[in-house]
């Protein structure tokens, strides 16, 4: 059965990864970045090898988000953010095909251990079962 596994982040976290520190997000050093790349790379490799990885991507920072709504006159209304600095949003996701909720929970628990600089906020990794893929929820 398939699951959507999501990680979160704020605009400030993205900026910290580029070296711009703020109150809740200390700047990442080159070593911090390398450690994170290596960790995520290993997770992705393992998921590819086990055949559980269906898809996965990181998302661009919240500032590059665009909202599209339906206007009253039938024309779409398009706006950029803004998001407040503290609001966490989807930062990346995996679509995984796992044997059970227990197994995908195990994977999410590993993702949660990703090394980050001291003082970076902790966000839970979120699992959402995907409907219509059969199996237990």
């Amino acid at each position: 059965m398939k699951y959507l596994v999501m990680i979160q982040g704020t605009q400030a976290d993205y900026e910290a990864m580029r070296g711009e520190a703020s109150a809740n997000a200390p700047a990442w050093s080159e070593k911090d970045l390398q450690a994170m790349f290596a960790f995520m790379g290993a997770v992705n490799n393992d998921l590819s090898e086990s055949g559980e990885l269906v898809d996965g991507n990181g998302l661009a920072e919240p500032a590059q988000t665009r909202f599209v709504g339906a206007g009253k006159d039938g024309r779409p209304v398009i706006t950029d953010g803004p998001y407040s600095e503290t609001k966490e949003l989807l930062a990346g996701y995996w679509v995984l095909d796992c044997e059970s909720l227990d197994r995908v929970t195990e994977i999410a628990a590993r993702v949660a251990l990703c090394p980050v600089p001291e003082g970076t906020p902790d966000y839970p990794v979120i699992i959402r079962p995907i409907l219509d893929s059969g199996g237990d929820v």
Binding site: E15, R18, G41, L53
Partner: protein, 410 residues
Amino acid sequence: MRRPTGVEDLLRSHAPQVLGALVRRYGHFDLAEDSVQEALLAAAQQWPEQGLPDNPRGWLIKVASRRLTEALRSDEARRRREETVAQLTPRDAFTAPAPGESRAPSEDDTLTLLFLCCHPELTAAAQIALTLRAVGGLTTAEIARAHLVPEATMAQRISRAKQKVKGVPFRQPVTEDRDQRLAAVLQVLYLIFNEGYTATSGRDLHRADLAREAIRLTRAVRRLLPTEGAVTGLLALMLLTDARSAARTGPHGELIPLDEQDRGRWDPQAITEGSALVEEALSQGPAGAYQLQAAIAALHDEAARADDTDWPQILALYDILVRRAPEPMAELGRAVAVAMVHGPEAGLAEVAKLEDRLAGHHRLDAVRAHLLEKAGDTEGARAAYRLAAQRTLSVPETRYLQMRAARLLP
């Protein structure tokens, strides 16, 4: 994409000729294309088990023809059309021999197919997809995977493209159109190459096959048009660029810039071949953009160490390039060369002139960042790296730029 086996290579090299034979004889590009795919599939299943037939191309033409006539017969209206066509076609118009007969390689068909697939009516995305499918012999699933789109989307794109070129006569464009159409073919091959080359990290590894496929197709075009400088130049450019691919990314998919690459990991064979092609291309008439870019790539590749790079020569080539083909990315390349020859401040002045035309483009910010770093403006460089990292949507580039910014932290 799996590693191509002997049979797969054989099938890919025959695919355009088999398709050419069918389209020439029956028309119906879309049906012919489906039939060839079915024949290729049958061959891929049967040949490894039963051994190769004596005349593989004849076998494929025979099986594909059978599938095609079956498809035509299945529909009453289609059958009538088939009969009309048969009656209208004089016997000697059947330039392809009967199915199963051996014949000299009809290489021209490959080129005619390429011209058809790169028809000006089609969008660039459709041209690329159709070229990979009809001339490259890739399956829809493979093309979809390489473009990171669902298979259904790619199937739709290909079938719409086939509909569009359905009525186009199967022959090479007339002389006055030819140069322009050849330019379109080369552009599509270059786009395929770049799609494969720019995606180098992790699970996108299969896209490297696109670069290989583009090189293979360009080689095929060069065999047919050996004296066309642009074709020779494009092949040289691809080989000289691809030669560096192993050294281009680090262990975690981050980009490594040219001057920091481990040159021992460059492919010496591709460099030798590419350099020889550059010389040949430059002797084949006035140098166009591909020849000049290939010559620049050759100068980079031939330097044993980054410090040995012949920057004055590269700058001279960029000067000609931006005069012949004024294009902002070429001018940005020239700005780097100016910096290497005349110092970072001179380069920054050139970058500033491009501000309007490349506004918001991460590459402009990245080049500015590098030049500011070289000029000793750490704070300005860090800000420019950050801006570039914010603007790129490529994972390897983001990583590289983030790392560059982090390296300059106080």
